[in-house]
Symmetry: C2
Subunit: 339 residues, 2 copies
């Protein structure tokens, strides 16, 4: 990506094993993330461009001398950040803060590509059992980011039985937050979104109510639905300031706002009138995928959850310019890329 709307498919040298902890993976499934649309809309034009993509399923082609958990030929999930999975922050469940970690998006080797260099391969890549049906791959791909980002929202927000959850945003993360909130036992799930085809899928994932209104009107609607109390947990799956303002607007006293939409702002209200006065908690961040991945994998393999249903288009890598366009225009919810 060279600037707003300027995505180019280019030939670059194949990645190589640079460190003994690296692996090279041939990407078989990738996708475009809602967060890729932020630079697509507003990045500063760049001479050198920026490698894009941070979700992949692929086949291990080569491993460094120190890699012990992966074998050439393994099919693996590669999450959006790499991590050694052994450092103190990884052990505490925050692999996105790994001392040897980093993020594929914008890195020298990213996932919207034929091949990918995976640093800290033992800690990063998770093997999919041999013989897994190809039809499960889209759902397995969501464990690289989007489903587990929804799960992170529900988990850090403290969603649990008896709690009402409001999810702001009907993009893929929002819809999969609904699915995750249902998994962890939310009593009631309110989905705020205005695209009927998307919110319909949200209902299938477990949303009890859909609120298409936004701003003050949307806040009033959620307050009405909750008998004036507001929502115990509110997930911001958007990342823009109006969604954040909506979040504290519908929050119950003592409730929690969990953000997983990457904030496109740095400053926001946090004082007496927004968070402090009602003892609101604000949490969230880049999803700690590794904390949840091993538990989610068998659920997908057993067909208990089908997060891959968010993919409504499938294109080749050569058509990725079209994939961005479809997602930017909201013609597609999420595009599966087959390099």
């Amino acid at each position: 990506m060279y600037g707003p709307g300027d995505v180019r498919v280019e030939e670059v040298p194949d990645p190589t094993i640079d460190e003994p902890t690296d692996a090279v993976v041939r990407v078989t499934y990738a996708s475009v993330c809602g967060s890729d649309l932020h630079p697509y809309r507003s990045m500063a034009p760049s001479q050198n461009g920026r490698r894009m993509g941070h979700e992949a399923v692929g086949v291990v082609e080569e491993v460094g001398a120190d890699v012990t958990a992966l074998t050439v030929g393994d099919t693996v999930i590669v999450p959006f950040s790499w991590s050694d999975n052994t450092c103190v922050y990884c052990r505490e469940g925050f692999n996105t803060s790994c001392v040897h970690g980093g993020f594929f998006d914008g890195a020298p080797s990213a996932t919207q590509a034929e091949r990918l260099r995976v640093p800290q391969a033992d800690g990063t890549a998770v093997v999919i059992p041999e013989g897994t049906d190809e039809s499960l791959m889209p759902s397995l791909l969501t464990l690289a980011d989007v489903y587990l980002t929804g799960y992170h929202a529900a988990y850090t927000g403290g969603v649990s039985p008896g709690k009402t959850v409001t999810v702001i945003g009907d993009g893929a993360v929002g819809l999969l937050t609904v699915l995750a909130a249902r998994q962890v036992g939310a009593e009631r799930i309110i989905l705020m979104g205005r695209h009927t085809d998307r919110t319909d899928l949200g209902r299938e994932f477990g949303a009890d109510d859909v609120v298409p209104e936004r701003g003050e009107e949307g806040i009033a609607k959620v307050m009405e639905l909750t008998g004036g109390d507001g929502s115990h947990v509110v997930v911001d799956a958007v990342g823009h300031l109006p969604a954040y303002e909506q979040a504290y607007g519908v929050l119950r006293p003592g409730g929690t706002i969990s953000r997983v939409g990457v904030p496109q702002y740095e400053e926001a209200p946090v004082g007496m009138a927004s968070l402090f006065g009602k003892n609101a908690t604000l949490t969230g961040g880049p999803a700690a995928q590794r904390r949840y991945l091993e538990a989610a994998l068998p659920q997908v393999l057993a067909g208990q959850i089908q997060p891959g249903r968010v993919f409504d288009r499938r294109l080749g890598l050569d058509d990725i310019v079209e994939a961005y366009r479809l997602m930017d225009s909201r013609e597609a919810l999420k595009v599966l890329i087959r390099p």
Copy 2:
């Protein structure tokens, strides 16, 4: 209080029973709170003035027809907010969001006075057992606000065994947060403050380290003390933006900032560079004293904790102008008022 630095002692009519749920309490112990210094320094001048004070111990003089838990002659603790202690938010532990609640500070009847009208008296006032030694009263008074505000900071911050806590601010709330953090089992407590007489008391309350530096220098010092990791929990017991910035500066990835200093700002950094990037949680608010009061009362009565040690001056109500001056100039840590 009529404006910055303008505190006046005035004769006003005695409070009366206005609602059947009211009680009238003769105030025997009150005090000046660090949060009273915010209007003392910066309130907009007012024609009518503002009644001040929100911490009291006193004797019940009269009760309304619906009051059943209190008897005339009872000595009671009156916390800084009133609440019915039965509504849904009270039951969820957030009595400061009570549907029948309110705050004494600025209310028609406040605690820096001879007599006080206590709304929702059954839910608000807590009886001190008859025969309690008078020497315990200052410590019991801290259960009206300052110690339980420190406790709220430690509790909502998730302080627990194994965790490092950094407390920003060596005022009475900061020092009592140290005491509370020790009660809930913090492994290590770092106190950031530069007034040696105060931080010495902080050490007696349980601080392991004292960092007098502020800003970038203070952040570097805490990072050094924590081996570069930062602190699991950081308590902002100040309420000004530089303290908040210090808080996320010393926070460990996945850590929690708990605020109990009333924020003197509405907007603050919360994005990728401050909170989101390291999965920081921001929590806190007006202390839910009623959640903790019953458990803390026997601890004080048994002499297990002595939070009243924060009172280093004792003045009559007629000298309250001097009490404000002493606290504003930091000559006094906290002044006990004997109306």
